[in-house]
Point group: C2
Chain length 417, copies 2
């Protein structure tokens, strides 16, 4: 798209009440708008980035047999009362409202109960299993504090998935598949080298759950980490007993600050018993379904990327989640010049090839164009100017590597379209 | 995808408390799940159909310069107080909740005020205009009654767009462009011949707004229609004065029941004055922005299609919004046969070509497969059986036309992939 048409403006300063680095950068670059503390809207650049994050997750979830659904935000009180979790004493993040038609309604902070309830219509026999569903949901949580930008909002995007299995063996297969899918996802997000599967608090059924923790100064967690042995333990379950079980010594581990970007959880049979989700197994016996749940915070992911992939000039997106793959910059700000003619021709040609391109056709100074480009952080930048025209090539700049080189139009098309 | 893996089951009966035809059909076919009155979740087939509806609208909105954003569901009380619309007496569909951090928060039933407020950060000068944004939003409305299935829910999908212009002339261009875009959208939904732009109640600024009304027995509106003259008047504004203005006589009009599927609204300068959204015009004067708003209910659209495109066997999707473009049906329910081998080969070949195909590979009777296929209503059905094998062709059935013919594999690929 033409940057002259993009309605968002970059800003020198973020709102004074915004204390988190991720939201400051994303607001200044025109990715998000702050509606209130912990609540942000997605502007065109932010929406595109968030959709790319979702699409990577979608592809990897589909690859392991996930089926996409979308649950409602409004949830009936009754199904949460059945499992005892309607109570504000037990769940302290509920938003609730009165229905005009009478009674109360809850707003989805989690979807375990509704999805389990829904599955009663679809799971009857072992022949129906396994079932693995996921959704990209807009979660609403009545958080007391919200100072982490889009890393912990009162409203946030989340991929949550749920597995329904005929026994432990079938469950373990999906659990292991999900670990591998998550590893591929974090690889594609460009954070594999700083993200670690971590032993974390379990629940009624399992001693440990597994979290994926990314080293990040703005995180809210601490983990004990040994990179070489690939062992990570959430501080919350750090104990002599845990160390013994994992065969590691405390001296080998380093305490680092992290942000939780994913989690996987084995419910065993307990959750289905609570919900009342039973099926007939191969022996014809009525049996609770073996359940698991698996989350990745998608807006949090965007916040973490803004935190760990940025410099003093702005955002530095990895190519797969960059709002555009190509940032084409015309360096002659004037109305009609040879450089503009050439940039216009190339832009139209790229569009006709289906390229994902933001074209800075604005009549502003080179300094402002580069400052905005650095702030927005699109991974691949191509400059057309009188200088590049006379060289018969295009100047390529990698926002991640900070390197510049001259390339031909053919190279641009082959590598970046 | 393989139908044997699709977790949803078709049902002979809808829930007894479901009175609307659209929800009955969509629940029975496994498109949606009823969470509570007026609240439905999207199952895989429903989500795919809804996404196709959204994608058609997205393409047409982008084509007229729309920029996609996504506002939050949570909304601060203050911006609605500024325009006097926080009051439950004035707006009777608010969901509101207490914030744990103190104060109240609203849940988005409309986004006019928040989008206008947000634009204060991006619109300063006439050079910034026009701006045209749209979103696909999950609206929440505290409706007293909810008996129309997904045609009027307490939670529903909506495309809402907003234009911000430098004066009336610029506004009129976008208004006219939107009318044409809407006409293309309803054409692609297959309902152009029963959808009419209708004179409807205006507001503080204009005498009339425009609605798009689709003839539908389950609708909640009545319009006075003359198909030949292409004149339609919402009953709410039907009067001698209106007839005179439009140069039409009451005898020429027929009263028909309709469902509102779209609306377009000219706010003039009033809305920007209320919100406090001003810019500097070319003469350097501080001026309120000329605003318009434009809606299409996306889940309602799905409901209307279910109402008007269905028969006693089930749903009948037009090709562009059919959950899959191809329904490939293997008629030999057995484990290994020549027909199965052939169907498997064709399915894998279609997948490798990127086709959008549901493959009924289940080991159930032909009768059940056809009953399910009729209920789900995918537009193009292809049958492979011993009979078609020996003929060296594939049987094609059009769900919309009800016609059958034999075609070659090459024809299938050329026309439907």
């Amino acid at each position: 798209m033409r940057q002259s048409k993009l309605f968002t403006k970059t800003r020198k300063e973020a709102p004074s009440d915004e204390v988190s680095k991720n939201a400051q950068l994303l607001i200044r670059a025109g990715f998000i708008n702050k509606e209130m503390a912990g609540v942000y809207s997605m502007l065109p650049l932010g929406l595109k980035t968030h959709e790319k994050i979702k699409q990577i997750i979608r592809e990897e979830m589909n690859a392991i047999g996930g089926q996409e659904i979308l649950m409602s935000s409004l949830q009936p009180k009754e199904i949460w009362e059945n499992t005892g979790r309607w109570d504000d004493e037990l769940v302290d993040v509920w938003f609730k409202a009165e229905l005009k038609a009478g009674g109360e309604v809850g707003f989805g902070w989690s979807h375990e109960e509704p999805i389990g309830e829904m599955m009663k219509n679809h799971i009857r026999s072992f022949k129906d299993l396994p079932v693995y569903v996921y959704q990209f949901q807009n979660k609403l949580r009545n958080e007391l504090r919200a100072k982490s930008g889009i890393m912990r909002g009162r409203e946030f995007g989340m991929k949550d998935s749920y597995s329904f299995c005929d026994g432990e063996e079938q469950h373990n297969k999906i659990y292991e598949d999900t670990i591998k899918a998550y590893e591929r996802i974090f690889e594609r997000f460009g954070i594999a080298d700083r993200t670690f599967m971590t032993f974390a608090p379990g629940g009624a059924f399992t001693e440990f759950s597994h979290e994926f923790q990314t080293i990040c100064d703005a995180g809210e967690d601490y983990i004990y980490l040994n990179k070489e042995k690939n062992i990570a333990i959430n501080e919350e379950v750090m104990s002599e007993e845990t160390l013994q079980k994992l065969g590691v010594k405390k001296e080998e581990l380093k305490r680092v600050k992290t942000a939780e970007v994913g989690n996987i959880f084995n419910f065993g049979l307990q959750k289905a018993k609570d919900i009342g989700l039973f099926y007939k197994n191969e022996a014809g016996e009525k049996t609770p379904v073996w359940m698991g749940s698996y989350g990745i915070g998608t807006t949090r992911m965007m916040g973490v990327l803004a935190e760990v992939m940025s410099d003093n000039k702005g955002l530095v997106w990895p190519e797969e989640v960059s709002p555009f793959k190509i940032h084409l910059i015309l360096l002659d700000g004037k109305d009609t010049t040879d450089a503009r003619d050439e940039a216009e021709r190339l832009y139209e040609d790229l569009l006709s090839r289906g390229a994902d391109v933001l074209y800075d056709d604005r009549e502003v100074s080179a300094g402002q164009k580069f400052a905005d480009a650095d702030l927005i952080g699109i991974s691949n930048r191509f400059v057309i100017s009188d200088k590049t025209l006379s060289a018969g090539q295009i100047e390529y700049y990698s926002r991640q590597k900070g390197t510049t080189k001259m390339i031909t139009e053919q190279e641009l098309i082959e590598r970046y379209v």
